[in-house]
Subunit: 214 residues, 2 copies
Amino acid sequence: MIFALRPSERSGRPTLWIPLVRRIREPFKGLWALPGGPLTHAESLQDAASRNLQETTGLAPRYLEQLYAFGGLHRSPTQRVVSIVYWALVQPTEAALADESENVRWFRADRLGELAFDHNAIIDYALWRLRNKMAYGSIAYHLLGEYFTLAQVREVYEAVLDRELDPANFRRQVKATPEIEETDQYLQGGKHRPPRLYRFTGRPGLDPDNRSTP
Amino acid sequence: MIFALRPSERSGRPTLWIPLVRRIREPFKGLWALPGGPLTHAESLQDAASRNLQETTGLAPRYLEQLYAFGGLHRSPTQRVVSIVYWALVQPTEAALADESENVRWFRADRLGELAFDHNAIIDYALWRLRNKMAYGSIAYHLLGEYFTLAQVREVYEAVLDRELDPANFRRQVKATPEIEETDQYLQGGKHRPPRLYRFTGRPGLDPDNRSTP
DNA sequence: ATTAGTTCTAGTCATGCTGACTATAACTAC
DNA sequence: GTAGTTATAGTCAGCATGACTAGAACTAAT
């Protein structure tokens, strides 16, 4: 379950997108589904998620975290399946490199049709978690490149939370977080006053899998 | 992974306790471990957690939530094991009914020795989650009975967060949460002014498994 | 070159929550 | 009756937040 920002076709403002793969066999043949695959004996859960993601979409996200283990009885009509779902945030540059083909395509997170299995519910939950984590933790920066303007950070929040934020107040808050570092660089080439560039110096998260990572 | 409140031997104030089971076979024979068991084909993850808990300790907790799926390669020396861990909160009355025997015993959460497998790490993470959820959400009430005094709620917080809280300020905050309902009852029999009793009217949580539960 | 238009950025002000603290009420034990 | 303790209410300063104003800095059009 991967999230990335891409410009909306119409407004050009960044919105949330998700890569899906088309089912090429039953059940749900022809429908779109989350990328995934089996867990082998020689890899950890996180490694398996990375590998499956790499194989299906070519993506290698920096931010990868366990979402939830889904194990309802009727998730697949043919057999009992337990899915340990991970979710990832990728930067725009990475997302642009992703393989796209007849059977792999990006979709807007807020405009999905009916997907295979219980994947609509999984995505709903992932969106809920994303919004939650964004409102508290400092997670939005993993959707941006290394250098960014404060207006870009605000656009991420506005896209994910789906509401407008006051630019001045948002600035004040972001600048108050210690993980945000001011640089001497400015973003040139815009139509108006060039905004200052900032960096994020924090670490991903506090999962059991990521805890000891320095 | 079950949490319950029990009075400390010395001070009598409530503290966090955890039931553990003794390993009766290799690996880690003789060491204490978290209760658990296999997932069968005909039960959901949550049902399996409930059942295994019931069978090993006799407990049937009201609050049960998925903690994390642990799937590192070297969790067990003999074979590859993936554990989807659930955590539960039980009320004191329930906890008192739990089976206790030679091979099932309660331990103070802050005074555990070396446990089997990676269970120390699992408990550390569960404690971290419990403290986190308690600081934000309204979860403490699942460790109490139906009726409780505000001082009892404060004692729960003090036990879990391991620091003292100002009684007056804590009152103000708790009374401000809409899920807390004042009753006309007072707790009689204490040594001093009888405190008013309150009830919790909220719902457990927002897990995928619990979401639709009304 | 000047002006208009836009965004970037800093600052003000009222409001609400929080921690520290004081004061009174209500009960038990002596 | 009085001392001791907890329950409960209230005050006050400090800090974060939302709404808002204003100037700075750049581009594009005139």
